[in-house]
Amino acid sequence: MSDFLNISGLHARIDADGAPKEILRGVDLVIPPGEVHAIMGPNGSGKSTLSYVLAGREDYEVTSGSVSFKGQDLLAMEPEERAAAGVFLAFQAPIELPGVNNANFLRTAVNAVRRARGDAELDAVAFLKTVRAATKKLSMSDEMLKRNVNVGFSGGEKKRNEVLQMTMLQPSLAILDETDSGLDVDALRIVADGVNALRSPTFSALVITHHQRLLDYLNPDRVHVMARGRIVHSGGAELAKEIDVQGYASFLAEAA
């Protein structure tokens, strides 16, 4: 049986002012179903790039390696196909969509994914019921649904809105790219609760973070250290505490 998520020898580069710049230099990572993994690492080590490549952003070119997700070749799929297959990326800097109503956006996304998964679409009433229950859990006001997507949202509101989308889209693999950065303790707890509510034997998460605190709430199964475009060290939840105290220096030396 194939693994849930299996990243193998992944190399990717981006066009930086005409010159290709290699950012991922052989990432190997396996996430079994039902597990929460964290990736930590210094700035510029390729964490966000990995999350974008997994979600299908086109400006990154995969030069070698493979990613299989539930037995499928993830890299061959369009971003919307990946979403339908269960991949969800919570953006580090959520994008503003002026003129697009947040509730309409959510319903369009939910129904696009439901259609692709062969589920019946939600009518307006059923959708509102579901979304209101979700916003309540996330301590979000209904007023946020009436605004344009992320426009005029505070940093915390944007992150909460990402978690709302995640809750509504019911992914089987959630990638959280520094969703905890810039959040106060209460907001952090809400994000963690959002992830924990999805936990099941068929749900996994890849959590990119700089901070120990989110991991306290999530209690990850594995923690990986990423440096210079590779996973250089892996361990249990205690690794995050170690990093919190010692920093990355020892792992960087190890990688070099």
Binding site: A55, G56, R57, E58, D59, E78, P79, E80, R82, A83, A84, F88, L89, F91, P94, I95, L97, P98, G99, V100, N101, A103, N104, F105, L106, R107, T108, A109, V110, N111, A112, V113, A116, A124, V125, F127, L128, L145, K146, N148, Q165, L169
Partner: protein, 449 residues
């Protein structure tokens, strides 16, 4: 003739109808036309919009008869029987000729009290607001106008909405029509004028006709005229409209134009703020494809202090379409404390699409606030990726973003029925131009129940 009018285009398409006009005003207009010709590219105001499509045709006067069923279908389509505008008083012109049997009160809806309605045909007098000596297209209208509507709203009367529909019914012949409309609001009066230009018949793309309306608006002290226009002429048509508005003290002319149809279209507004604290809005949007050319031109004159002018225009251009925006703001020396704003934005969805934008500010007062700006861009890759990463297929994501870009400017129009008309027309055009994917699901409307 060429020796006399070296810069202009030939009047040949209309020549047969210009001879033997005796009425002195019309005769003067013909003289003016013969002197300058139709404007060519060397005329600054027509540098970006060329009247080439008119050449090579002979535009005849349209026959008075039409197929009532076909025209009725076109009316039902634009003003659905279950829609907000079904029971709104309407004035219908077919090929520029007023059709009383399709209009209020014959259709069962009375014109509101406080409105005086008269056909132009009944007493063909020309409003002094229009300037045929300066605008050749107005001169052409003056020479050839046969009909139109004239509305006068009594002092203090708030009469609500009136729909003015122009239906082109094209037969075998290539025709042109030049309706002459005028609207006049007394002190403190208000009116919402909803103007629609459509064509009838299924084979619309094969149809060539020329619609050349002139509308003059006189807005009295403290009066408010709201004017929304939807232009969806047949694909082969030429639509060249000129609006003149004079706005008295504390009066307001609030306009929105949506350009979707025609092969060549121009909506030209001359607005004069002639009394203190008057306001004018010339907002609009265009969604064009294929080889369409759409031009929104405005000349706003601040001739009194403390007035406000606002112009927000958004263009979405696909294929080989070309958009033009020319916005002139002229601030007289007396017009201190003028507050002017002008913004033209374009979304180019094809490497062959083009936008030409020309702001012109001419300011003689020293205490004014006048800003203008223009942006041009393609769809934002990050926004597209964000939508797709949430499962929305690419074509649908593109449409959502295009629609959002245009809805932001439609939001400037506040009248509910006018807005519904704009939304419906835009939705159909988006389906035609941007893709036939399912549109953004509407939740907000139902959420407010």
């Amino acid at each position: 003739m060429n020796a006399i009018a070296p810069v202009g285009r030939s009047l040949a398409p209309f020549e047969a109808r210009l001879d033997g006009i005796a009425d002195p005003v019309r005769h003067a207009a013909v003289g003016e036309l013969r002197r300058v010709g139709l404007p060519g590219p060397r005329v600054e105001a027509w540098r970006y919009t060329h009247l080439r499509p008119l050449a090579g045709h002979e535009f005849r006067e349209a026959a008075a008869s039409f197929d009532a069923d076909v025209v009725g279908c076109a009316l039902d389509e634009v003003l659905p029987r279950d829609g907000l505008l079904a029971s709104t008083p309407r004035l219908v012109l077919v090929n520029g000729r007023f059709a009383p049997e399709l209009s209020s009160p014959a259709n069962g809806v009375a014109l509101p009290e406080g409105v005086m309605f008269e056909r132009f045909l009944a007493s063909p007098e020309f409003d002094a607001l229009a300037t045929p000596e300066r605008e050749p297209l107005v001169a052409l209208n003056t020479a050839l106008a046969t009909d139109g509507v004239r509305l006068s709203v009594a002092e203090g009367a708030a009469v609500g909405r009136i729909v003015l529909v122009s239906v082109a019914f094209a037969g075998e012949e290539t025709v042109s029509f030049h309706p002459r409309h005028s609207v006049s609001l007394g002190t403190g009066a208000s009116l919402e004028l909803i103007e629609v230009a459509v064509s009838s018949g299924n084979n619309a793309s094969a149809v060539t006709y020329f619609h050349n309306p002139v509308l003059t608006c006189s807005v009295g002290e403290g009066a408010k005229l709201t004017h929304v226009k939807v232009q969806k002429e047949a694909a082969g048509a030429t639509h060249l409209a000129t609006v003149y508005a004079n706005i008295a003290t504390r009066g307001a002319y609030d306009s929105f134009t949506l350009g979707l149809g025609a092969d060549l279209a121009r909506h030209e507004v001359h607005a004069r703020l002639s009394g203190a604290k008057a306001a004018v809005h010339v907002n609009g949007a265009q969604l064009l494809g294929e080889k369409q050319v759409g031009d929104i031109t405005s000349v706003i004159t601040h001739a009194a202090p403390d007035c406000i002018s606002r112009q927000t225009i958004r263009n979405v251009l696909t294929d080989h379409a070309r958009g033009v925006f020319q916005g002139k703001v002229h601030v007289h020396q007396i017009a201190q404390k003028t507050d002017g704003y002008q913004m033209n934005q374009a979304l180019l969805l094809s490497p062959h699409a083009e936008i030409d934008a020309k702001p012109e500010l001419e300011i003689y007062a020293d205490d004014v606030k006048c800003s203008h700006g223009a942006t041009v861009g393609a769809l934002d890759d990050e926004q597209l990726f964000y939508l797709r990463s949430r499962g929305v297929p690419e074509a649908q994501a593109r449409r959502i973003l295009v629609e959002a870009f245009l809805l932001e400017v439609l939001d400037l129009h506040e009248d509910e029925a006018g807005r519904a008309l704009l939304d419906t027309a835009l939705g159909a055009a988006l389906s035609l131009r941007i893709g036939r994917e399912q549109i953004l699901e509407q939740t907000a409307g139902e959420a407010s129940e």
